[in-house]
């Protein structure tokens, strides 16, 4: 009602209302998971849901604290992260080069495109047995799985990114006699970077999925292993802890990639 008065009051009132709206929305988005947890807790305690499948959040949290204290959770998390990082680099770096070169050279594109088109639709999880066969039960097979998952989205997006670059920029490079390497470095790579970042994001997402799956079979460490062994010993709380940590990793990786993108692509409008 007060906002309806004279013009001088209107502007600040509007601002306060907008701020209030933003604050309210933020509160809602904070409150909704909290509400779910509360509801979950209540339902578990009253026995309405089966605690064998849906243990109360407080008991999951307690398990998490125990696993943290014993160093077990840290150990598994670091194992997974290390594989994720190594696999991302081993799969991502060649994908970046190949993808950009495919974008720049149509003969190479003609050569490699059908290979990618044929192998891309194969579910990556289905090649785990093959990876185990070739690389054995050790680190190799896990890192390989991540690398495969990261490779395709990065390569495909890098190619698309280069093809999306306005031809005039490549013409500029030609008129200034830019060498192949300089064309790659100063035009193709920065020009395709927005697409490449999307590819990296998709690729690491795929990598997280695959590392969890790969660690469930024949691993002795990692979050996937932790979840799997929890299933074998029916330690349901531990299973949830594993799922929760994987979700957190996904969230943090996305946040970090967003920051990296801001630094790498300062020209983005």
């Amino acid at each position: 009602m007060q906002g309806m008065r004279g013009a001088p009051v209107r502007k600040p009132t509007l601002r306060i209302r907008l701020l209030g709206l933003v604050g309210r929305d933020r509160l809602i988005s904070l409150a909704s998971p909290l509400m779910l947890l509360l509801l979950w807790e209540a339902l578990a305690r009253t026995g309405i849901i089966d605690v064998r499948f849906f243990p109360a959040p407080t008991s999951i949290f307690a398990t998490m604290v125990t696993l943290l204290k014993s160093g077990e959770l840290w150990h598994h998390t670091m194992a997974s992260l290390q594989r994720l990082a190594l696999g991302s680099i081993i799969g991502g770096a060649p994908a970046l080069f190949l993808g950009i070169i495919m974008g720049l050279s149509s003969p190479i594109r003609a050569l490699v495109d059908p290979l990618i088109a044929a192998t891309y639709p194969v579910p990556k999880s289905a090649i785990l047995p093959l990876a185990l066969l070739i690389f054995g039960l050790g680190e190799g097979s896990k890192i390989f799985m991540v690398a495969v998952g990261v490779f395709f989205p990065v390569a495909i997006n890098a190619t698309a990114g280069v093809l999306e670059i306005n031809k005039i920029y490549l013409d500029v490079g030609r008129t200034f006699k830019a060498s192949r390497w300089n064309t790659f470095r100063t035009i193709a790579l920065p020009g395709a970077l927005p697409f490449i970042m999307t590819g990296v994001r998709l690729g690491i997402g795929m990598g997280i999925v695959l590392i969890a799956i790969a660690e469930m079979i024949g691993a002795k460490s990692g979050l996937g292993y932790m979840i799997w062994s929890a299933w074998e010993t029916f330690a349901v709380e531990q299973m949830y802890v594993g799922l929760f940590v994987i979700a957190i990793i996904g969230f943090i990786v996305t946040a970090i990639l967003n920051e990296i993108e801001k630094i790498l692509i300062p020209w983005r409008r």
């Binding site: 013409d171 500029v172 030609r174 008129t175 200034f176 006699k177 920065p190 020009g191 020209w267 409008r269």
Partner: protein, 275 residues
């Protein structure tokens, strides 16, 4: 016909570019049709013509970006020159969005591994002359269209080529900046006497800048006439406006161009009907 005679006049002077019966077809479209030209060393050669008559195509062929369907191009570089043959100021936006003004301007020099000190001096000099020094660290999206155009001009100049190929470089500029940059361009050109091929839609600009002006016909793109500009140099953009020769030439070119533009429009309309 007229072209032949002018060509003959020019043969004595050392030419920088000789184009013989040059044609370029894109499928059914003949963009450039049988153009023959001799451009003298240090000449400021201007091309005007209706939109779509093949000006950019001709320039791209001269820059080596496009292969002619027929004909020959002969570019003569002075013996012992270490400079690049040509640099292009492209029509429209062509500066890299991912580089700062400075990096864009330094691009040509960096691509040919010029020493850092030279890059610093040359790029700094041209940025200064075009009023961009304060924006050296800016990215193109932080600049106005006219400023971006200036960066692209600086990029070509800083590369210090034998031949400058400029495709409507001032078209995105406001009248005041255009005037200033025309004067600046004239001054720089007087200093270095580079061979310039300059495309414009502005008849005034053609007369202000050019030694000779080629008027092109549309569909197919032919050389209609080549007119010499008998105005003394150094020229001042402001004083020229009062010169009767200037007015006469502008009028003459306009009349010639108007026929072509109307002709081109009719052709376009006829095509539109068919499509």
């Amino acid at each position: 016909m007229l072209m032949r005679s002018i060509e003959a006049d020019n043969i004595s002077a050392g030419h920088a570019i000789r184009v013989g019966n040059l044609s370029k077809r894109f499928g059914p479209v003949t963009a450039v049709d049988q153009i023959s030209l001799d451009i003298a060393n240090g000449e400021f050669f201007v091309i005007v013509g209706p939109s779509g008559c093949g000006k950019t195509t001709l320039l791209r062929i001269l820059a080596g970006l496009e292969m002619p369907t027929e004909g020959s191009i002969d570019v003569v570089v002075p013996a012992g020159s270490t400079r690049p043959v040509s640099s292009v100021v492209f029509q429209g936006d062509s500066i890299f969005p991912w580089m700062t003004v400075w990096d864009n301007a330094a691009y040509g020099l960096r691509m040919r591994n010029a020493p850092g000190a030279q890059i610093k001096e040359v790029v700094g000099h041209y940025l200064d002359r075009t009023g961009l020094t304060k924006f050296a660290g800016h990215y193109p999206h932080q600049l106005s269209g006219g400023m971006r155009q200036r960066v692209s001009i600086v990029r070509a100049f800083a590369n210090d080529p034998e031949i400058l190929l400029m495709d409507e470089p001032f078209s995105a500029l406001d009248a005041q900046n255009k005037l200033l940059l025309q004067e600046e361009l004239l001054q720089i050109w007087e200093e270095h006497k580079k061979t310039v091929i300059y495309i414009t839609h502005s008849v005034d600009e053609a007369v202000i800048l050019g030694d000779r002006i080629m008027i092109m016909t549309a569909h197919p793109g032919r050389a209609k006439t080549i007119l010499p500009v008998p105005l003394a140099r150094p020229r001042s953009v402001m004083d020229l406006q009062k010169d009767p020769i200037f007015g006469d030439l502008v009028y003459q070119i306009w009349t010639s161009l108007r026929e072509e533009v109307q002709h081109a429009r009719k052709l376009d309309e006829a095509r539109g009907c068919k499509a």
